[in-house]
Amino acid sequence: MRVAVPVFPGSNCDHDALHACGTVMGWDTIPVWHQETHLPPNTDLVFVPGGFSYGDYLRCGAIAALAPIMADIKRHADNGGLVLGVCNGFQILCEAHLLPGALLRNESLRFIHRDVHLRVERADLPFTRAMAAGAVFQVPIAHAEGNFTLDPAELIDLEARGGVAFRYCSAAGGIGEDHVPNGAMNGIAGIVNAAGNVLGMMPHPERAVDPVLGPTGGLGVFRSLAEALGVA
């Protein structure tokens, strides 16, 4: 099981990703500088980490989406390889057109950092298969631009094809505007591409995996990946 973590100038969750995949899960996890043109051979998963790549210049993720390593990440995704983008990583995947939509400024205008509850909308994905459909788990968010937005017609298509992987919810799994921290359309916290191998999410599962540091609500995502790649 080999994980590549692309590192951009301004990435600041790359070490969280390396810790979760490398230290906690025990996977072969390799940081890859954005100027590289190739992922390490036999990469199973690309984990695009959070942060403020290129200082969020122009739009969040817009400049990182043009980095040399992105061409090989697209090739990896086109070949069915797994790609997980968290927070700024999600923004980068949208700007790179690997996922639809865009992440706007939070409705409150504020940077929000707190724990949220997520409901699993798709339990048949490589990223969710160790969790049950409708299960609720707790993970932190930490972002200023997490307000997921999509053209209304495309939003209908996204929902119809089961493109929503995670939705913000109450601790009991209730859905509604009150539980959406950032104004995201339909309470969307994470989406998946049509092929099911590229997932982007604003919350940080990699920050909730190590009992030394706190709750471990994010482990479900990593256990799912382990199962999907046959290392469980």
């Binding site: 817009a62 700007e95 639809p100 865009a102 400024r105 409705e107 205008l109 937005t149 053209d151």
Partner: protein, 78 residues
């Protein structure tokens, strides 16, 4: 030639910055509504044919300067 690209959020896209600035202006007693905040990009593009320069600026918008999910642009060749 000098090119000015004005990038605005599409109508209907929530603009919390615009809303905050509008509230600030109301605080000063100004009567104002529908405040929207955008981005102005100025650049020098080599060439002498305005139509050709504009076409290249449009290509730049499509590739990088504008995210069509949330933004629209107008291009001015000066």
């Amino acid at each position: 030639m000098k090119v000015r690209v004005s990038v605005q959020l599409k109508p209907g896209i929530l603009d919390p910055q615009g809303k905050a600035v509008e509230q600030g202006l109301h605080g000063f007693g100004f009567e104002v509504e529908h405040v929207r905040i955008g981005r102005l990009i100025e650049m020098d593009v080599p060439g002498t044919d305005p139509a050709d320069v504009k076409a290249r600026a449009l290509a730049m918008c499509e590739k990088l300067l504008v995210n069509p999910v949330m933004e629209k642009a107008s291009i001015e060749v000066l």
